[in-house]
């Protein structure tokens, strides 16, 4: 069990930065960070016995040996910006390297005129304090990662705020790319997406390692707020370097008649934990959560989801698919909670795991807590291998075993990839997932 006896690196730096914080002028923000630090200190590290960490390798959790990294050189920044063009014509692009913004987002005059804002977090804190005070980190992490989210809050500086006002519809996706480059870098990317009434917006978040085996600590968070009838679509790709520990805490609020689609893809990190909480507090909301991963080597992908229905007549649907190779392990733990008054809820949850290696392990904890009776709720979880007949069919046509397996696995994953609305984003994702089959 790890304790916090040796707060080397990241913790010292966070503390120091809090003392000499440059945001003194915006007092509330300094206070918010201070609160994060106090919460972080007051909470114990998760242990194996913690039900919210069941099946996770909680014992190897450690924050030692990481520290925020200095600004990258111009050459490095330029090289990484050049690698950040997943979408040819995004609405806007923002790039961070080791937690430093190296490409500030620019907006077309039309979007600016419509009142759209896409800014770095630090700029937004200066420019829109009221908006941020209302929306920034309003939800506690309820799925076990509270301590990590608190540290994120204490360090809060990298990241972006995207605000789309009432009635504005933007087709082109906004793109944010976060890179880690320095060995042992600690990064805390934050994303805050606020869609006004009947606004339409799509965003792609890429979390990547500059080198395939980059070692880093990444604690990221994303909050999505939607007004009545807003449509938000998000693709989040976790592709940190292979020696990275990453934690991501997402919170989504589905307002009345909102339509939210999110795809969380995981390919990178040594261990990656995703906590995704969806609060459905408006009737008519429709929230679709998708997850996809290819886990290889000794990777551990730990996915925790919570669908809370407090408003009735709303819908949520979840599908998480994992393909496992090598000695990889995936944990899917999902819970649907339907509050007593949330009648006529439709909530579904499906987890499918494809074991492509005898040493891989898939754990599944699909849960339901239903307190209203007029609901349609179901969950399903399956874990199995590639179908023998399908494999035989392909091999009979001269396709070698490994290629046939990969084809079938890709077919298995395609169901989720197809949910990515932006074709370029889907293609980028397809490429990253496919590359994982050839690493091994």
């Amino acid at each position: 069990m790890s304790t916090l006896t040796a707060p080397a690196g990241v913790l010292d730096v966070v503390l120091q930065s809090l003392e000499t914080t440059q945001f003194r002028a915006q007092d509330w923000f300094a206070v918010l960070r201070q609160q994060g630090w106090h919460t972080f200190q007051s909470l114990p590290m998760p242990t194996r016995d913690d039900e919210k960490w069941r099946f996770s390798d909680a014992r190897s959790l450690s924050l030692d040996g990481y520290a925020p990294a200095p600004e990258p050189t111009e050459a490095l920044a330029a090289a990484l910006i050049a690698r950040s063009h997943f979408v040819a014509r995004p609405a806007s692009l923002i790039v961070h390297v080791d937690g430093h913004c190296v490409l500030r987002p620019a907006l077309s005059p039309e979007l600016t005129a419509q009142g759209v804002r896409f800014e770095t977090l630090t700029d937004a804190v200066r420019h829109h304090p009221a908006l941020l005070q209302e929306h920034l980190l309003k939800h506690a992490a309820g799925l076990g990662g509270a301590k990590f989210l608190a540290l994120h809050q204490a360090w809060l500086r990298a990241g972006y705020v995207l605000f789309v006002p009432k009635g504005v519809e933007i087709r082109q996706p906004f793109v944010s790319v976060n890179w880690t480059s320095t060995d042992g870098a600690a990064v805390f990317p934050h994303a805050l997406i606020i869609a006004g009434e009947h606004a339409t917006v799509s965003i792609q978040d890429y979390h990547l390692g500059a080198t395939a085996d980059a070692r880093a600590l990444a604690i990221s968070a994303c909050d999505i707020h939607t007004g009545t009838g807003a449509k938000v679509s998000r693709l989040a790709v976790q592709g940190w370097g292979s020696r990275t520990q990453s934690f991501q805490v997402d919170n989504t609020c589905g307002g009345r008649d909102a339509l939210i689609t999110s795809v969380n893809a995981a390919v990178g990190s040594r261990r990656a934990r995703l906590e995704n909480t969806v609060r459905i507090d408006g009737p008519g909301a429709d929230v679709r959560l998708y997850g996809i991963s290819v886990a290889t080597g000794e990777q551990e992908f730990d996915q925790r989801t919570l669908q809370i229905h407090t408003a009735g007549q709303a819908k949520s649907d979840l599908l998480f698919k994992n393909a496992l190779l090598g000695k990889a392990r995936t944990i899917f733990s999902g819970l649907i909670k339907v509050a007593p008054d949330a009648q006529r809820t439709d909530a579904y949850q499906t987890n499918r795991n494809l074991l492509l290696s005898p040493d891989a392990e898939a754990d599944s904890l699909p849960g339901l807590e239903i307190e209203a009776n007029d609901v349609k709720c179901s969950h399903g979880a399956t874990t199995g291998q590639v179908d023998e007949n399908e494999l035989f069919y392909l091999r009979a046509r001269g396709i070698p075993l490994e290629a046939a397996q990969e084809l079938l696995a890709q077919g298995f994953l395609e169901e989720v990839i197809a949910k990515v609305e932006d074709e370029e984003g889907a293609e980028a994702l397809r490429g990253m997932l496919s590359a994982k089959f050839h690493q091994v």
């Binding site: 074991l355 849960g367 339901l368 807590e369 239903i370 307190e371 709720c377």
Partner: protein
Amino acid sequence: MAEIDENLAQREAIEVDRSKGDFKYEESYAFDAGVGLSASVVDYISKVKDEEPWIREFRQKSLKIFEGLPMPTHWATTDLDNIKFDKIRYYLAKGQKAVRTWEEVPDDVKKTFERLGIPESERKFLAGVEAQFDSEAVYSRMKEELEKLGVIFCGPTDGLRDHPEIFRKWFGKVIPAGDNKFAALNSAVFSGGSFIYIPKGVKVAQPLQAYFRINAENFGQFERTLIIADEGSEVTYMEGCTAPKFETATLHSAVVELVALKGAKIQYVTVQNWSANVFNLVTKRGVAEEGAEVRWIDCNIGSRLTMKYPGVVLRGKGARGEVLSIALANDGQHQDTGAKMIHAADDTTSNIIAKSISVGSGRSTYRGLVHIPKTLKNCRNNTECDALLINEHSRTDTYPAISVRGQKNSVQHEASVSKVSAEQIFYMMQRGLSEGEAMSLAVNGFVNDLVKEFPMEYSVELKRLIELQMEGSVG
């Protein structure tokens, strides 16, 4: 205190205080370990039973384990904190004399039996008032037949004393004392229960029934059952059919161990209908060797809180495990039930079908565990959980845990939550049924495919019990 007026003594022996939800026992027992739990209470029980030193040591060790383990409230309901271990009597026995008469049975229990349509003689029997004399006779007749086959059917004390070569090997091995807090408690203070051995190849045609044993022994709250089915044998065991409603205690914590050796089949049927102030915290697990089958058929209707997850450890190639479970949670009840399937050999299969019904403010929970480790091939599990919610604030939870590795293993889990549709009710009411009858019929339809798996007389009774529980749930 033994020689007081008999009627008075008997009346006082079971003083039901429904408002407080617990019984008061008059202290007229020949053997009474007093209130609370301590090393001396455990020694007292062991001494009364005249046990060998190793059993006493087992009990004492278990007590230490019990004291050292925390309440599992980090995942389970905090209602467990309402159990006051120091207020419980861990051992009461009145020697061999039956203590109750039909007149003493509370009216509501009598009424229930009448409505269930159980014959008078059987009612007395089920209520636990049948004279020991009679049940001994019944028991003896049965015992004779079984003895011819070489079947051993006795209590834990007799079993461990008279047949240590059979029972000691498996006692506390399927469920070690340290398995969980309540298994440890049972291991420390167990008394009563059934120890059964079925010899090689013997197929016991008639189901062995638990309430014979219960009455013969003044059934305790901490019974211990161990059933060993030797190679190729078959047995069905049933327990607690309409467990006497007045057999109320604050805590019932049993341990049931099943051992199915190569090719053997054990079917264990439970219909649990404790009164609504009992904490029913039971550990049940079977081991299935090569080609063997362990089948739990579990129905929970009574109790305040039941926590019971029958399990099967599939130890031998081709072994099969099955849990069929029905739970009905009415107002104030929490049925926290489920199943565990631990695959530990190749080609093993397991099946779990759980159906729950929540009525009023009742809460039913399914908790499951399916584990397939990496060394195994061709293991399969199928899990289906269906929940039916009757009233607006009924509650249901599902918490399965599935862990799979290895080659060609597959699991599938499905759960659904629904309510009885207004159309169904409308359809039946149009045909002259009252709303309550219609609801009751719909609920019986929901569990029908599982009820069919129960032996005939149990399934009839189960249907009636469900009807009783459903009364007044609508309108």
